[in-house]
Subunit: 104 residues, 2 copies
Amino acid sequence: MARTPEHPDLQDVRLARVFAALGDPARLRILAVLADRGEHQRDDFAVEVGPSTLSHHMKVLREAGVVRCRFEGTRCFVSLRADTFDRFSTALDGVLRSIAEEAA
Amino acid sequence: MARTPEHPDLQDVRLARVFAALGDPARLRILAVLADRGEHQRDDFAVEVGPSTLSHHMKVLREAGVVRCRFEGTRCFVSLRADTFDRFSTALDGVLRSIAEEAA
């Protein structure tokens, strides 16, 4: 049976917590990968940290409502939460754009 | 003699640290006041925290490069750092706009 990690409801997502989740260089690099709006797996994130630290960063992003994690068997697919980025589009569109620019 | 608190050089301002500084509800409320790009004093910030907590929040914002503090005698004038918001305008224009919208 697929594990389904907890995600906050959209109504409980807070902008301050989203910013706190973005407030780390490694997590900004994770977002640079996710900025294509696709689903990504662990190996896609060229973050120079160990697996447990990467898991920690993913948990912070997930619990803040920034990313969604979908499990399929033993694999975990991570993507940006479209509902969060729609709701806070005024604040976050430019954030994504700047991250994509830096990564380009 | 006027006290001049330390401010990071623009080249040392990091986006991740700026986001970390924005990652607190009280600091977002401070930014809502500063979003008019004017100089403000302590009493302008309707933040329900004591003076030492307010000072802490200002220090976090100042050390991240988000605000500038100008002392005149015993008074402290706080404003957004135009250079930081120019440099990271892609990321931060929408942030300021969304904060201003919420405060309107």
